[in-house]
Every structure is written in structure tokens, then in C-alpha cells.
């Protein structure tokens, strides 16, 4: 097992405690498309990629297409990228037997006319490696998008084998719609384009899965995806899919993964029992990423000390503090709040501070009413409406969670609770 605090641990590096989600994904896909949800950094992409890897290992004819939508800028690009990847993947496996090269030529011709491009797109579509051709895309036109969706549908209908298409970071594309426009216009544009996207996708999904073809879609995004669609009033557009929720690791799994990573590096601890207790207490319910990052920090310390691999209790604690200030650690949430909560930043940080302090000191989440009361003592003229609006935003952004039947709010991840406590409550730590 290798430390993988960046990139995706697969195969021998994949944590077996997560195999159950890989199996669930396979079972769900037998009958339906799947929406993979979970908090940030819980290993959604990892579970999906491991599923694809295991399928490929078992069946050499299995074809999958993984598309990271973080890089797609608009609806045209969305469809073109899927088409291109389908062509590349399937030409390799020679499933386009009916038409072969002609399919690419015909598609190229259609796309040229849809996108009003003069250049020959055949090399762009058909050749691996040639990944970039300068195309000036026309302005958004629903008809053109519809035509592109039809081309994709036609292409998928011709394939003779099952293809699993993964659309990762789905909410990223949605949030690009309307970017830069004033709030209300942005919302409108986001709703209309997402509606368009979802209905096009729905049509393709239903027509390719109900007929003789068995192509499947996996759509992944943080918990934010459900919330985003709800916010846009479009949550019903994906009510026909199975939902696979990938939560944080349980404390026992956190300890197990940590020990596996440390054993692989031959790390030793002056007091191993203390170390296990420390991990269980400080990481608890954790994202696998923070376990990996902690192991990476220990590795760095070991490299700095020319391979010395025994860690004292003090070093173990110092490494946790390093994690909380690490460039790859939870510090990014501060940047996120700076950018996305510009006008409400102080209020947001106060809510997070109060929530983290209560949870850190009592081990329990805070009652929603109690949080409001404490906050009212600090913030003049705070109304219940304003408080509800902000906590609603924080909930949909997954920065806090509803707990104990919704009567309490808290921070589900121990590492994040530690982070906010140190950052906002423990003055010794403030920068």
C-alpha cells in the first residue's frame, strides 16, 4: 500500500474497508444508473475508479469512459467530450464494426455543421493523442445542444457492448452556467441550462438502458449535487436513479487505514496504543484523504530525518497540528468562505466557531436554538430569518450537518471540527 494523499489509490493501494461501496455500485448498475453522493473528500471518485478497474480486470471487453467535468466549460463541450471519449474508447475495442471509419467521418461532418466549424474534425474525433483543435464555439443555442445530444444518442445506439459512462464533478459544470452574471440572471441561466442538460441526459439514459443496449451512467458529485439540484428546483429530474452514499470512514476504519499506511512505510511508535487512541480520538469519523495526508506528513518527517521511522507521542501530536495548517489540509475552506460568503463571512465564521467549540468541548453537536441564542449575544440585530438563511447555506454547502433528527447542528468530520476549533476558538493557534 502506498501513501496517496493526492491522486487516487487503486488496486493494491485501495483500502479494502471501502470494497462494500464498490460492490454496491456494481449491484446498483445491474438495473439502474447511479448517483454517487457523499461529503467532500470521502473517496467517491476512488470507489468509482476502483469499480471500473475491477470490471476491466475481470472482463477485457468492458468499456468505460471517465469524464472529469471540472474542465468542461459549457454544454457544447460537455457533449463533444463524451462523443470524443466514446469514439476513442470504442475504436480501440473495435465495437463500431458496422460503420468503422465511416462513423467517424459522418460524425465529423455532422458536428462541423452543428458547430459551424470549417476545419476537418475527423482527426480530432478519431485519433488518440490529438487532443486539441482550436474551435470557436458558437453562442449557446438550445437547438444546437439538442442536435449534439442526438448525435451522442445515435453513437451510443450503435455500440455493441455495454459502456459505463462516468460523469465526475457534475455540480462543477452546473455552477459554471451563468458565471459572472448578476445573481438573479445567473440563477435563471443556471436553471434553464441545467434543465436542458438533465433532460438531454435523461433521454439518452432511458433510451439506451431500456432497449437492447445496456449503457450505464454514473453521475458523481459531492452532497452538493443533491442540494444544488434542490436549490434549482430540479431534484425530480434524477428521481429514476439509485443513490449510493459514501460517508466518512468509521473511527475503527480510520484507525485501520492509518495503521495499514504506517505499516507499509515501516513506521513505529514509541507508544503504539497511545497512537491508536490518538487517531481514534482526533480523526474519528474521517475522510480517507486526511488519514493519507497525515501519513504523508509523517513520511516527510521521516525523510527529513534520513529515514528514522520511530515517532514519539510529541511528534505524533505535532504532525496533527501540521495537518491543520498544511497547504493540502482543511485550510482551503477559509479561501472558500472568503470567496463564496464575502458579505456574510464574519457571521459564517462565528457559527462555525460556536458549533466547533461546543462539539470539541462536549463531544456533542449543539442545539440549533442554542446556537442562535449564543450568536445573538455576539451579533447585534441578528434575526432568526437571517440565521436560518445562513445556516441553510452552510448546510447545503456541507460545511455543517444536521444531526440528531435535525434538532442539532454539528461538524460531522472530527478533523474539520478540530480545524475550526483551533482556527476560530483556540487563540494560541490563530494566525
Amino acid at each position: 500500500m502506498k501513501i496517496t494523499a493526492g491522486g487516487i489509490p487503486l488496486g493494491s493501494d485501495f483500502y479494502q474497508g471501502r470494497q462494500t461501496y464498490v460492490d454496491d455500485l456494481g449491484n446498483f448498475l445491474k438495473s439502474k444508473d447511479v448517483l454517487v453522493l457523499g461529503p467532500r473528500r470521502t473517496g467517491k471518485t476512488c470507489a468509482i475508479k476502483e469499480y471500473l478497474r475491477q470490471r476491466e480486470e475481470a472482463d477485457k471487453n468492458f468499456v468505460s469512459i471517465f469524464i472529469d467535468l471540472e474542465t468542461a466549460q459549457n454544454l457544447y463541450e460537455f457533449y463533444i467530450r463524451i462523443i470524443k471519449r466514446v469514439l476513442n474508447a470504442t475504436s480501440k475495442w473495435r465495437f463500431l464494426l458496422d460503420e468503422g471509419v465511416d462513423a467517424i467521418k459522418n460524425l465529423s461532418h455532422s458536428l462541423r455543421s452543428i458547430l459551424e466549424v470549417e476545419a476537418d474534425l475527423a482527426p480530432y474525433l478519431g485519433t488518440e493523442g490529438e487532443l486539441k483543435v482550436s474551435i470557436k464555439l458558437p453562442d449557446f443555442d438550445p437547438k444546437k445542444v439538442e442536435l449534439l445530444a442526438e448525435e451522442l444518442h445515435r453513437l451510443l445506439s450503435k455500440l455493441k457492448s455495454e459502456v459505463v459512462i462516468v460523469l465526475d464533478e457534475f455540480p462543477e459544470l452546473i455552477w459554471k452556467f451563468g458565471e459572472g452574471a448578476p445573481d438573479q440572471e445567473a440563477y435563471k441561466e443556471r436553471v434553464s441550462k441545467t434543465q436542458f442538460l438533465m433532460s438531454g441526459l435523461r433521454k439518452i439514459r432511458q433510451e439506451t438502458t431500456e432497449g437492447t443496449k445496456r449503457h450505464k451512467f454514473i453521475v458523481a458529485g459531492s452532497i452538493n449535487l443533491d442540494n444544488t439540484l434542490q436549490y434549482l428546483g430540479l431534484d425530480q429530474t434524477i428521481n429514476d436513479v439509485d443513490r449510493l452514499k459514501i460517508p466518512y470512514l468509521q473511527p475503527s476504519q480510520t484507525v485501520e487505514l492509518m495503521l495499514l499506511l504506517c505499516d507499509a512505510e515501516k513506521f513505529e511508535f514509541s507508544n503504539k496504543e497511545h497512537f491508536k487512541g490518538f487517531v481514534e480520538q482526533q480523526f474519528g469519523r474521517s475522510s480517507p484523504f486526511y488519514v493519507q495526508l497525515y501519513a504523508e506528513i509523517l513520511r516527510q518527517a521521516s525523510i527529513d530525518k534520513m529515514g528514522q521511522r520511530v515517532f514519539s507521542e510529541v511528534e505524533v501530536q505535532k504532525a496533527l497540528k501540521d495537518l491543520l495548517t498544511h497547504p493540502k489540509g482543511p485550510r482551503y475552506l477559509i479561501t472558500r468562505i472568503d470567496r463564496y460568503y464575502t458579505h456574510e463571512k464574519d457571521l459564517v465564521l462565528k457559527i462555525l466557531g460556536i458549533t466547533a467549540r461546543t462539539q470539541y468541548e462536549t463531544g456533542k453537536p449543539i442545539k440549533d436554538g442554542e446556537c442562535f441564542a449564543l450568536l445573538s449575544g455576539e451579533v447585534k440585530d441578528l434575526t432568526r430569518e437571517k440565521y436560518t438563511e445562513i445556516t441553510g447555506k452552510l448546510l447545503s454547502d456541507d460545511l455543517i450537518q444536521n444531526m440528531e433528527d435535525g434538532s442539532h447542528i454539528g461538524i460531522d468530520s472530527h478533523v474539520l471540527c478540530n480545524f475550526w476549533h483551533h482556527r476560530l476558538v483556540d487563540a494560541r493557534f490563530t494566525r
Binding site: K2, G6, G7, I8, K132, K328, Y332, F429
Partner: protein
């Protein structure tokens, strides 16, 4: 002779990171200051993989820097195809085996994707990236590279180097946020620097005597002006050789020390300018003032100069000129690079030994 710590790192990477596997290793970023030895480590990895091409399935592919400036992904694809073809044409592999190979891209200074160097540093014509290449365009290049690496992760991986440009991996809205596994290549410690210089001077008694005199006069301060950077230490050693070669039979005298310092600070000027040329007038004013402050200083040690002191200090922190020390309040700072502080002090005629 390279420090043991760097050799250890190379050994560690060979044993752990490049160990045979059914997949390419996870993408890795070697991050550290200029001269910390990142490129040396990268080069050792390259040579090792080349020498062991018969036994490893990993093919090292150097990506020249200019490829990171424009058409990055297209060019990387071409480089990969070429590497694949040359393995087949060179008779090293048959076509089927070539398909099984995994490729390890070696990219130096990948952070420059967001921070293109000035035209004179580019070996491609400036028009190739467009004189108005905006930050958005640069981010787009980085996005394409990330997408390429993710989509080809079955057989392509990357080891890259970068300096401490924090935006590069720390900004959640930029493509390489959390993409890389990270190993910090730290600067040489004072002892490592002294050992390095001593090893380079072996066999040149005049240079050794000059070095001994310098150490006697300035103690540890002397070696710290090289920031633990191998590049600056090489300039340091070069300076010692040059001055000692000019000395007659009379042995090393104190004026040789003056000549050496003049030569050394002149030689490191381009490096120091990399740091100070980005400063505004106000920031430069404060930096000059800080050369008179103690090594570690807080706002109460500084003449406020009718500027917004806390904002300017914060800007200098963001530009990596100074850094916070500890968590005390009022905040304590120090210069991030002793070379910059000493260079400024030298030019302001502040005694180097007077800390």
C-alpha cells in the same frame, strides 16, 4: 558531493515510489526553494529508470519547460508517442509490449503554468503564448493537463517540481488543488552547507584557508547567506576558487575577504532580484528599513515610515519575502531568505557580522 539527505530521498523514491506495480506511481510534486536539489533528484530518477529500462515497465519522459507554455497537452501527447515509437523502432520492445509500458512524465517548474516567466527566459517566441496571455488561459492549460493525467491515469503519471508558489496547490479553485502527492525538498542545513562547501574545496588549500578565515570572521552567518541552496553554494565555492587563484604567495589576507564578498554579492544579484523586483515602491521602502531591524522583528522594531505597516508586512509575507515566526502577538517576522537580507545589508554597508 551531494548531501546524504538528498541521496536518501532518491533511494527512498526508488524503493517505495517507483517499486514495480501494475499501475504507474501516484503523481508526485517535489516542492522546495530554488537550489534545494529538486532538479538533481529528478535527474537521478530519470537516469535510474533509463539504466534499468529492461527491468522496469516505467518509461521516463522529460517534458521540456517550453511545452508547459503552450499547447501543453498536444505536445505531451506527441512526446509520449515519440517515446513509444522510439522504443519499438530501437528494437527494445515489440508493439504489444510497448502498449503495456507506463510513462512517467518529468516536468520541472510546473508551477510556472500559472506564472509564465518573462520573455527573455522563454526559449519559445513570446508570440507563442501571446503577449497578453491571461491568468485564465494559464489556468486552462493547467486544467487540460490535469484532465489529461486523470483520463490517462492507467498508463501515465508525473513527477514535477515546483517552488513555493502557494496558489498552485493551495487554491481550491485551481486545477492542481490536492492533485499531487507532496514531498518537500528542504534547503541544506547550516551543517550540510558547511560540509558541502568543504567537500567542494578539497584539494585547494588556498581556497580552504580563505574559507576558514571567512568562517572565523563571520561564523554561521556566512553560510546562511546561501539559504541552504546548492545553486548559491556553488556560486559561493566558485567565488572562493576565483579569489584564491588571484592570491600570491603571501597567503590569505583580510582584503581577500572583501574581494570575495564583493564578488559573491555581485554574483547572486540576479537571484535576489527575482525576489525584490516584484515589490512595489512602498514594499521596497519597508524592506530597506527592515535590513536595519534585528534578525527577528515585530512591528514595534520598525519605523512606520508613514505607510500602512500591517498591510505592507502582510504583502511582503504573501510575496514570500518575509515569514511569520511562531504564534506570538504582536506577530514576529524574519526574512524568508537570508541571501536577500544580507545582500541588502551589504549594499547598505551594514556590517554582516552585526546581527
Amino acid at each position: 558531493m551531494m548531501p546524504k539527505r538528498l541521496k536518501f530521498l532518491v533511494g527512498y523514491l526508488k524503493d517505495k515510489y517507483l517499486a514495480p506495480s501494475d499501475r504507474p506511481p501516484p503523481s508526485l510534486l517535489l516542492r522546495g526553494d530554488m537550489g534545494a536539489g529538486k532538479s538533481w533528484v529528478l535527474n537521478q530518477i530519470f537516469l535510474d529508470l533509463e539504466q534499468n529500462s529492461d527491468t522496469t515497465s516505467l518509461v521516463p519522459v522529460r517534458v521540456p519547460f517550453q511545452l508547459t507554455a503552450t499547447n501543453l497537452v498536444v505536445n505531451i501527447s506527441k512526446v509520449l508517442e515519440k517515446a513509444k515509437r522510439s522504443s519499438i523502432m530501437g528494437g527494445k520492445l515489440n508493439h504489444a509490449d510497448a502498449q503495456k509500458k507506463k510513462f512517467l512524465l518529468l516536468i520541472e517548474g510546473v508551477d510556472r503554468l500559472y506564472n509564465p516567466p518573462s520573455a527573455r527566459e522563454l526559449s519559445v517566441p513570446r508570440r507563442a503564448i501571446g503577449s497578453g496571455a491571461s491568468f485564465i488561459t494559464q489556468v486552462q492549460h493547467a486544467r487540460e493537463l490535469r484532465a489529461f493525467l486523470i483520463e490517462n491515469s492507467k498508463n501515465v503519471s508525473v513527477i514535477a517540481t515546483s517552488n513555493h508558489d502557494i496558489r498552485f496547490i493551495e487554491d481550491p479553485d485551481l486545477p492542481f488543488f490536492n492533485f499531487f502527492n507532496l514531498i518537500e525538498v528542504k534547503p541544506l542545513s547550516s551543517q550540510e552547507s558547511l560540509d558541502y562547501v568543504a567537500s567542494q574545496l578539497k584539494g585547494n588549500p588556498t581556497a580552504e584557508s580563505l574559507f576558514a578565515l571567512l568562517v572565523r570572521l563571520y561564523g554561521h552567518v556566512l553560510i546562511e547567506i546561501a539559504d541552504g541552496s546548492i545553486a548559491l553554494l556553488n556560486l559561493f565555492v566558485g567565488g572562493l576558487f576565483e579569489i584564491s587563484s588571484r592570491l600570491g604567495k603571501g597567503g590569505v589576507k583580510k582584503d581577500a575577504v572583501e574581494h570575495f564578498l564583493a564578488l559573491y554579492f555581485s554574483n547572486i544579484t540576479p537571484y535576489v532580484e527575482l525576489t525584490i523586483q516584484s515589490l512595489s515602491f512602498t514594499e521596497r521602502l519597508l524592506v530597506d528599513e527592515l535590513t536595519r531591524a534585528p534578525t527577528q522583528f515585530s512591528s514595534k522594531d520598525i519605523d512606520p515610515l508613514e505607510i500602512n505597516l500591517s498591510k505592507t508586512l502582510s504583502n511582503l509575507g504573501a510575496k514570500l519575502v518575509i515569514e511569520r515566526v511562531g504564534e506570538a502577538r504582536p506577530a514576529a517576522y524574519r526574512f524568508r531568505k537570508e541571501s536577500v537580507r544580507s545582500w541588502l545589508r551589504y549594499h547598505r554597508r551594514v556590517d554582516l557580522g552585526n546581527q
